[in-house]
Symmetry: C2
Subunit: 220 residues, 2 copies
């Protein structure tokens, strides 16, 4: 209910507004998104809102049924697991590609992130670790140079940021995932594609195993 009344006329802006609103929980899962309401809410025309909802539907963030309106798509635990399973294999591919194609500068960047992760865990800074986690996966995607895979992953990531976020807050999670992350970086730095893929898959398999613990309880 917090006032997000930042008025932005263009359609692309409405997309960003609604997307971040969903990610940050301003819009709850299954909440109806009435075009007219969002129109006055954001100070944009209904056509702009309509276009934005169409775009977000394509991104998999909102659901639309013919003549019945749009609502925030709720991703069940089962679907979150499926998403992570696909992420597992695709990010595994990216890790392998990264091990093959990384430049020395790329490797330095990865090592830097790994070092930051160590420090964050030592300092118990969960938020910094979560951010570094995001940066590591993004770096692997970038280094891999696999644009199609990057697009797929970006899409999937947008759909379960909520679950990811709750996972990061799980106590003791960092100490479990840290060695996995370090192994990924090590394998890529060793330019060993198969080991890198295996490490990435093992990491995400661990995420999948942990997901049920975070459950599908609302965060409120």
């Amino acid at each position: 209910m917090s006032a997000v009344t930042s008025t932005a006329g263009t359609a692309e802006d409405v997309v960003d507004l609604v997307r971040t609103a969903i990610h940050q929980g301003e819009f709850a899962p299954n909440q109806r998104l009435v075009e007219a309401d969002l129109s006055v809410w954001f100070g944009a025309s209904r056509a702009a809102v309509r276009t934005a909802l169409l775009q977000l539907t394509a991104e998999g963030l909102v659901e639309r049924v013919q003549n019945r309106g749009a609502r925030v798509r709720a991703v069940s635990l089962e679907e979150a697991i499926e998403i992570c399973e696909v992420r597992m294999v695709v990010e595994g591919l990216c890790a392998a590609k990264a091990a093959q194609r990384a430049s020395e500068d790329d490797l330095d960047g990865l090592r830097e992130i790994a070092a930051g992760m160590r420090h964050a865990v030592e300092a118990g800074d969960v938020f910094a670790y979560s951010e570094l986690n995001r940066r590591l996966h993004a770096a692997v995607r970038t280094v891999a140079g696999q644009h199609v895979a990057a697009g797929v992953l970006e899409r999937l990531r947008g759909q379960n940021v909520r679950h990811q976020f709750r996972l990061a807050l799980l106590p003791g999670r960092a100490s479990v995932s840290l060695p996995q992350h370090l192994e990924i970086v090590d394998a890529i730095c060793a330019r060993d594609p198969e080991r890198a893929e295996a490490a990435m898959r093992a990491h995400l398999a661990s995420v999948i195993d942990t997901l049920p613990q975070v459950g599908s309880s609302p965060v409120h």
Copy 2:
């Protein structure tokens, strides 16, 4: 230039019309898609065409640049390879899942497709083999019960049907891929997830190796 003047007013219909037109080569890659032209072409309103183009952009079939219009997205050979690489790992996941979750009826269906493939190759029926190929991959997706992966694959398939089609026409291609397909079915029927995944990945790796031979020459 063939007359596709089947008039259909609703936006969803325009999506289907344009999609099949692109798939069948009515619209060449990089061809501009002017909203007004398509509007009179299909007998739909410009808003409907606009919505349809938005949808197709999300599907990755058309490209849109701000205030510069839409055009049929051309997938380069490099991108086709990337698509197949992602398909390789995701369909590998599906094959593994299928090996775990298939019912006896599912296995019968797979064996039936495999038998049909053998006959098609013996008879030299390239078209039937191509159709069975499509059905086999679709069956694996379905049996796997992995809806997220299925969605990703459907998306990717739509983007390089052209390349896939040209690949199927390559002489001698069927005799290379037939044993790979049979191995996939065998592995799933043996309920061996790792072998199924390996078989699927080997098959698509073979596809990737063959792709450069088909080149990116226009088919006209």
